[in-house]
Amino acid sequence: MAAIRYNIIRLQVDRPGQIVRFQHKIPSNLKRCTGFKAVHVRGVQTDLYIPEIGWFTASFNSLKEEAIVVPVSAQAFYEPEVTHEFQTLDVELLRGQLVVGVYVDTMKSNVFVPYIVSLYLRCTESLSSPFQKENFPKKERTEMVAKAKGPTDECICEDDENEEDDQELISEELNPDQLCSIT
């Protein structure tokens, strides 16, 4: 089972050609990042789509893995072609490590207005099953398993599978696409 959590790295660009550095600590309960999206949030107002206003680069696990180099585009003000698709990422996260990177403004425009860009990281958190929780004594569990093994092993397996299915359903229903942290 894995719940999805989103991390947002939000940066403000105040002058043309600015290089904005960031470092962000991903919560240690997150185990893997599976996607990312770099977007212009607000500030640049344009009638035409601008394919590149700047670049994000980011490395994971405290500079151990360089994973993201991506341009940021600006949508036309009146006809935004908003896409919500994340690009694929596959980074196994080490506990408590940093995401480090820079944003470089490359916008070619005579009139500069400060703007904000965001890097969204889609990460997964592995959830432990209720039996593995610390408040459930191990000894008690082994006793219960020993008792349950009495009649038929097959029955127990089926029950376990059903229980897992139920838990998957529950986690899908919850689908906790909520924000973890904002920097």
Partner: protein, 107 residues
């Protein structure tokens, strides 16, 4: 003053990156040419003389970017670049320095 090589070895060990080769690499700038590109794929270039660069110099790479500001003149830290590294001198510069890097080729 800290020892650059000790720092590099310690940090690369922390990052579990093995070093195959370390050597020095210079980029000699010439009057009239303001942009230089170096390929540093699968390797790292660590800038050692940022204090010698004209204010406004920009170094843009796939993994890191730097603009030399007045506040950075006194800094001793190493800046690391990788991938395609572009060096842009400011348009009105009168200085054409040798830009020194420590090149690290990883295993």
């Amino acid at each position: 003053m800290f020892d650059h090589l000790i720092h590099i070895h310690q940090q690369f060990k922390q990052r579990t990156i093995g070093i195959e080769l370390q050597r020095f690499k210079n980029v000699v700038t010439k009057p009239g040419i303001l942009r230089y590109e170096i390929e540093a794929y699968n390797e790292y270039l660590l800038l050692t003389n940022s204090f010698a660069l004209p204010i406004g110099t920009r170094i843009i790479s796939d993994t890191n970017s730097l603009e030399v500001l007045t506040s950075q003149n006194g800094l001793e830290g190493l800046e690391e670049f990788s991938g395609l590294v572009a060096i842009e001198l400011p348009a009105n510069t009168q200085e054409y320095p040798n830009i020194e890097f420590i090149q690290i080729v990883k295993e």
